[in-house]
């Protein structure tokens, strides 16, 4: 019974939390993906803007940019979207602040423009070590073979002497 009370109060807590939290979700801007290699395209979405009240404006600010991007399409999940092409962007983190067509604030989000691909962080070893590994294996093999022959001969010699 006690466990039940705990469970119920936990459920009430979670319920209250979900009721109270969406304060931030009322005006939400999403950037997808939130990380892009320079030159990639990100989609900016103001989820709460009503397409009927006009285009949303996304203000993008960052290391070397302060631009306004106008929404071009209605987002599938509701709201308005625009595509942003990051070619020529300085690497770093950008902030997107959206305003709906009716002038209401539609939230902010950030995204990061990163280098492309991995790092060329190796110069290669001097020559190919595969050769010396193979030679080492060959030498060890012949040593083992020699040892085997020797051991057999000795055994033969012993059997010959005793026999």
């Amino acid at each position: 019974m006690k466990a039940k009370t705990v469970l119920v109060s936990a459920a009430v807590g979670v319920g209250l939390g979900t009721l109270l939290l969406p304060g931030a979700a009322w005006a939400q801007t999403i950037v997808s993906p939130s990380t892009t290699p320079v030159g990639g395209t990100v989609v900016l979405t103001a989820t709460t803007c009503n397409p009927k009240s006009g285009d949303a404006i996304f203000r993008v600010t960052g290391p070397n940019r302060d631009i306004n991007v106008r929404s071009t399409t209605a987002a599938a999940g509701g709201g308005l979207s625009a595509e942003l092409f990051t070619a020529g962007f300085t690497l770093g983190t950008y902030t997107v602040t959206a305003t709906c067509g009716d002038g209401s604030a539609a939230g902010t989000a950030t995204f990061t423009v990163t280098p492309i691909g991995g790092a060329q962080a190796g110069g290669g070893t001097p020559g190919d070590p595969t050769g010396s590994v193979a030679a080492g294996v060959a030498l060890l093999g012949s040593a083992a073979g020699g040892a085997l022959i020797l051991a057999r001969r000795r055994r033969h010699a012993v059997t010959a002497a005793t026999g």
């Binding site: 993906p33 892009t36 691909g117 962080a121 190796g122 070590p129 040593a143 083992a144």
Partner: protein, 201 residues
């Protein structure tokens, strides 16, 4: 007479074995160590107040004997992450468009695994294990200490951009170097080895 022959043979075998072992170890030790591919597990967030921005000047990794000066790096003309020049192989780079080590977010350090002259600053990065310590000295003389969460190799064409540069609510550190097979035709390693670490007290 029959006594001398085995003596010679034994000596011959010993020489062959020693030579073989020598070649094998020298050949194998020129390959950078492979990481165990421990994915970065979630570390219980110790709520440390983030440090303010201060450029890092030196990185120390005691378990693999690294003590290296850091220089700021950006990206080259193709948009790839810059690495300190090959003729200064013992210097590592700090990605200057990201946060500094100790700030909230992931700070990125990059260093060569080797050059044509031999092992470089991050040669043994693949040897690191979860829990190993990385210390970064910053320009304001403060030291940010990090504990390794995971070490893994990723093919360069599937570089985990979000893991390395992505946003984070904790103060993280990412160490990047090369690894895997060296492709002599493209003069390049096929993988990147990435160490993930989180700031600890």
């Amino acid at each position: 007479m029959s006594r001398r022959r085995p003596g010679w043979a034994v000596r011959m075998i010993a020489v062959l074995a020693a030579g073989g072992l020598g070649l094998l170890t020298s050949g194998l030790s020129t390959y950078p160590p492979r990481p165990d591919d421990v994915p970065a597990g979630a570390r219980p967030a110790t709520r440390l107040p983030p440090l303010s921005r201060a450029e890092p000047v030196e990185v120390r990794i005691p378990t693999i004997g690294v003590r290296a000066r850091l220089v700021p790096v950006g990206a080259d003309a193709r948009g790839e992450l810059e690495v300190p020049p090959l003729d200064r192989p013992q210097i590592a780079g700090w990605y200057r468009h990201g946060v500094t080590p100790g700030e909230t977010g992931n700070a990125v350090l990059v260093g060569h695994v080797d050059t044509a002259a031999g092992p470089a600053v991050f040669f043994d990065l693949g040897r690191l294990r979860p829990g190993d310590t990385v210390r970064v000295t910053r320009a304001d003389r403060s030291v940010a200490t990090f504990a390794v969460d995971g070490v893994a190799a990723y093919p360069k064409d599937r570089f985990p951009t979000a893991l390395v540069y992505g946003p984070s609510s904790a103060a993280g550190l990412r160490l990047v170097t090369c690894g895997g097979r060296f492709d002599p035709d493209r003069r390049s390693y096929v993988d990147n080895v990435i160490v993930s670490a989180t700031r600890v007290p």
